[in-house]
């Protein structure tokens, strides 16, 4: 087939982009070459709309071993150990086929981690669905949860934390973001940079089929009426093969045969081979007849663009082929020498003794398009004037019941009980807490991880929203006693070609950057997912932040369940009564306007670091950060988990009771301490100028809010746990 502009447009390229390809090649590309360009230059692989802005993120730090640019980020956790981690989206495939879409998302992110030599030790996920009333929501939720569990459970990697939300803006475009942490020795990290001439290029794993051809382009195109036609591009995950691939790769990695290794993710063989060549400033030659294929008569085009899962590309040291093959044979996996590194600096493909493609690697990578898209700055919304009378009319108990049973606050046990969260025998904090925590096998250390997002805040004011999620991630780590180290981010937005959506992106990224810089919480990896929209309407901007922290002595880990009667409960950080954009305002007053709560980075840092210091001194019996749903929600969850009650003190604040209990001011935590430690704890807080107040005392089985209002813990629990169970029946 002759390539022309129309075919280029059908491949999702723009007219100028097609011209640029012809100019760079000084000829018209053939179809295989065009396919390669379209895969490499689409949004998903080239980051053409986001690169300019991502550059501004802080990516360096004392603990950062590898920042963005590799398969995953790597941080130092001392004693020669390192954690490899990253988050990635699989939104569009999951909407089309929730089980397989979510499963292959989990499979993909695990490969990104073990391709660097790390054994995955924990999975997390951030999943967002449309309104519970929407007719598709229930099946999508069930399918996604089964898919995540189906893959992760089979791999034997515990899923230790996650996040789930419902919002009608996801009705036609759900979000599925998967995150994995892996453990590696600092001196045994593997990278994707090829080196040396005439080194064998090896294909291992599953065979190549016609899966997801154009999947990467699908991820870069928004949903429209024609979605049905895109169905056949869905891939089926094979977690069993991935488990074998993991073991085989780690076995090979234990030796010294590998020069470079790279998983085949989006754009399969194309992006993996080109990335390795590009990083090594080399050429690569592949004989496509050698690629193990599942179907007969696959064309070079199909082989190069297939997104079959569970495959890896390796550049080996010469003479190590036999040894490597033995390992893959043992694990019953395909192994083929398909090419070699060259000094041509081109990617050259051969098929049936003919050269079917010849492209300079730099044209695909360095010369890929980069856009400075138009974007609109958002205006800070005006504060709402909520009348005191409106608030005074409400009964606290009624509000509490509604808030605790709200779909975005209620217990997600129905979900995480379907994830194996205890396999590997090191999970010391299960899902349901502020962060999941796993021990580093055989040591006293543990790592904590959490994944967060707040689309509502980001939608109301992207800059503040961006800062807020980073701050929330930081708080979630501190609440379990972990020192925050670094984050990964998955940026889910609408179309970058829409100025409003692009504005949301730019400002969220700016917010994320400011907060992570201030908190010394650098970004080490991530992923951008644009075109999350139905027709012209984008989703609410939803950056997900995955934070990772270290606990030096796992025995000092903190949990959120109230521990002991007569202990004192303190609130750290000031409650100002910011109600706009709170869950209370949105779901009970049905008030959707106004600014999100302000994020004061000085307070965040100071409050968090001071709390960490108090934890290190063993004064904290339980802790929990205050987030969605405000102070009373936070305390309720601590009561439910600990099966203990609380008697609140009369509070001295000048604000209304409802504002006090349900506002979402940032930088706050609830802590439990022993009465005899009060003085010492206060001293530390005062010395660091951390605002705090004593809010109550732990009692047995009921929550006494004021003279008139009491709730039993069983009631609290039923408010909180019933919604999702009932909904999924």
């Amino acid at each position: 087939m002759e390539v022309n502009e129309k075919i280029a447009l059908d491949h999702g390229l723009k007219t100028e982009e097609y011209k640029k390809i012809c100019d760079l090649l000084e000829r018209t590309p053939n179809l295989t070459e065009l396919g390669i360009f379209s895969a490499m230059w689409n949004e998903h692989c080239s980051y053409k709309s986001s690169r300019l802005h991502l550059k501004k993120l802080p990516t360096k730090g004392k603990k950062v071993i590898q920042g963005p640019g590799e398969n995953a980020g790597v941080i130092d956790i001392e004693d020669g150990d390192a954690i490899v981690f990253k988050i990635e989206s699989h939104n569009h495939p999951s909407f089309i086929e929730p089980y397989q879409g979510a499963a292959t998302g989990v499979g993909g992110i695990m490969r990104d981690v073990f391709t660097m030599g790390a054994r995955p030790i924990a999975n997390l996920n951030s999943i967002h669905f449309g309104s519970p009333q929407h007719k598709k929501t229930k099946n999508l939720l069930r399918g996604v949860v089964h898919g995540i569990g189906g893959y992760g459970n089979c791999m034997g990697v515990p899923t230790i934390a996650g996040q789930t939300s419902f919002d009608s803006s996801y009705n036609g475009n759900i979000l599925v973001n998967a995150m994995t942490l892996g453990l590696v020795k600092k001196n045994k990290i593997f990278y994707s940079k090829a080196a040396g001439l005439n080194k064998p290029v090896i294909y291992v794993g599953s065979k190549t089929g016609r899966d997801g051809i154009h999947g990467a382009s699908m991820a870069s195109a928004s949903f429209d009426e024609k979605i049905e036609e895109k169905k056949p591009t869905v891939q089926v995950g094979d977690p069993f093969t991935e488990k074998l691939l993991l073991e085989a790769c780690l076995e090979l990695m234990a030796g010294d045969s590998i020069i470079a290794i790279q998983d085949m993710g989006a754009a399969g063989l194309t992006s993996s081979s080109i990335e390795m060549a590009s990083k090594g400033n080399l050429g690569i030659e592949i004989n496509l007849n050698k690629v193990p294929c599942r179907e007969t008569k696959m064309t070079p085009y199909e082989i190069m663009l297939s997104e079959s899962q569970e495959r890896m590309l390796i550049v080996l040291e010469n003479g190590k082929e036999e040894k490597a093959k033995k390992i893959f044979d043992k694990w019953n996996l395909d192994f083929a020498v398909i090419g070699k590194t060259t000094n041509s600096k081109n990617i050259e493909l051969f098929f049936d003794n003919e050269r079917v493609a010849n492209i300079p690697v730099n044209t695909l990578v360095e010369n890929s398009p980069m856009y400075n898209r138009k974007w609109k700055k958002s205006k800070p919304p005006k504060k709402n004037k909520i009348k005191k009378e409106t608030l005074n009319k409400l009964k606290i108990k009624d509000v509490l019941k509604k808030v605790l049973s709200n779909q975005n606050i209620c217990s997600k046990e129905w979900i995480w009980q379907q994830y194996d969260h205890t396999v590997m025998g090191d999970t010391i904090q299960k899902p349901g807490g502020d962060s999941g925590v796993v021990r580093i096998h055989g040591t006293n250390k543990a790592v904590a991880a959490s994944v967060d997002s707040s689309a509502v805040y980001c939608w109301a004011h992207p800059l503040t929203g961006g800062k807020q999620i980073v701050a929330e991630s930081w708080r979630n780590l501190i609440s379990v006693g972990a020192k925050p180290i670094a984050i990964t981010n998955c940026l889910n937005f609408g179309s970058p070609e829409n100025e409003d959506n692009m504005g949301e992106f730019v400002e969220c990224v700016q917010g994320i950057g400011e907060a992570s810089k201030y908190l010394n919480f650098p970004v080490v990896s991530g992923n951008v997912s644009f075109y999350n929209q139905t027709k012209d309407v984008g989703i609410k901007p939803t950056p997900s932040i995955g934070g990772v922290g270290l606990i030096i002595d796992y025995k000092k880990m903190v949990t959120m369940d109230f521990k002991e009667k007569d202990n004192l409960v303190l609130a750290i950080g000031k409650t100002e009564g910011h109600i706009d954009q709170s869950l209370f305002a949105r779901s009970i007053l049905d008030e959707k306007n106004g600014p999100p709560p302000e994020v004061n980075l000085f307070n965040e840092k100071n409050n968090g670091e001071t709390l960490l210091h108090i934890i290190e001194n063993d004064y904290i019996k339980s802790a929990h950060d205050i987030s969605l749903g405000g102070l009373l929600t936070a305390v309720s969850k601590m009561c439910i988990k600990g099966n203990k009650g609380i008697k609140f003190k009369k509070f001295k604040n000048f604000i209304n009771e409802i504002e006090y209990f349900f506002s979402e001011d940032q930088g706050r935590y609830i802590i439990e301490i022993k009465p005899e430690d009060l003085k010492k704890v206060r001293n530390i807080l005062d010395k660091n100028s951390v605002h705090h107040e004593e809010i109550g005392t732990i009692i047995d089985n009921e929550m006494i809010i004021n003279e008139k209002t009491k709730v039993t813990i069983d009631e609290l629990r039923s408010y909180n746990t019933n919604w999702l169970n009932e909904y999924m029946k």
Binding site: N153, G156, F240, Q417, Q418, D420, V423, R439, K555
Partner: protein, 227 residues
């Protein structure tokens, strides 16, 4: 005491079991499914996981692997063989214990703590156990024990039920049945009681920082009984 843990392709609790056995004094060896010979052992363990991806039927393909012939011979000669979770499914498929394990009643994977009541202490696994009710951890998709009426009668006549799902104080009622198992059965023996298959994972409960410590009691008791 010597133990062997078999690794099948897709096993994923093999390391956890190795750690647990060693912690309580076993000299453990890992054995590859494709080997022909078992090393000399006092206990052979088929660990949990997803052998062969749980494809076809859980445990069906692992039951046909090379090493299983030696395991079967070992069991037939009275050797102790314990299958946990997927290991239980393999035992069933290999015909070493009666019955089958079907999909959980609500078709959902379940990962949580449960209580189990020991039904029979006249065997090396539970002899001398101080407790009658253990808090154990389960994590499975196919733990719904089923057998025919005739088989059930035989199992009961021979006192082959090892543990039942129950409440924290030992009530074996349907409410405490997590997966739809026949009569709340969570684990069974072969006739001779040297082979035990059970769904719960004691190896995930060997440290108070984990889901609990009743697994420690189980292993301590086990090694003392074998000595």
């Amino acid at each position: 005491m010597k133990s062997s843990v078999i690794t099948f392709p897709g096993s994923n609790c093999d390391r956890d079991m190795d750690v647990a056995l060693k912690k309580f004094g076993f000299k453990n060896e890992m054995v590859w499914h494709d080997d022909n010979e078992l090393p000399k052992s006092d206990l052979v363990v088929l660990p949990g996981g997803f052998s062969y991806g749980d494809y076809l039927r859980c445990g069906s393909m692992a039951a046909k692997s090379k090493i299983m012939q030696s395991v079967i011979n070992f069991a037939k000669s009275g050797g102790l063989v314990m299958g946990i979770c997927n290991g239980f499914q393999i035992l069933v498929e290999a015909g070493l214990v009666p019955g089958v394990l079907l999909r959980n009643k609500y078709l959902e994977f379940i990962c949580k703590n449960v209580f189990v009541k020991i039904n029979n202490k006249d065997n090396p696994y539970f002899k001398n156990s101080d407790k009658d009710v253990f808090e154990f951890h389960i994590a499975h998709n196919e733990g719904n024990y089923f057998c025919t009426n005739d088989q059930l009668k035989e199992i009961e006549d021979n006192n082959q039920v090892a543990i039942y799902y129950c409440s924290n104080n030992g009530k074996t009622e349907e409410t405490f049945n997590p997966n739809g198992s026949l009569n709340n059965i969570a684990g069974i023996f072969n006739k001779e009681k040297n082979v035990l298959g059970m769904m719960p994972h004691p190896e995930r409960m060997i440290d108070k920082s984990l889901s609990g410590e009743d697994g420690s009691l189980f292993f301590k008791n086990l090694i003392n009984n074998i000595k």
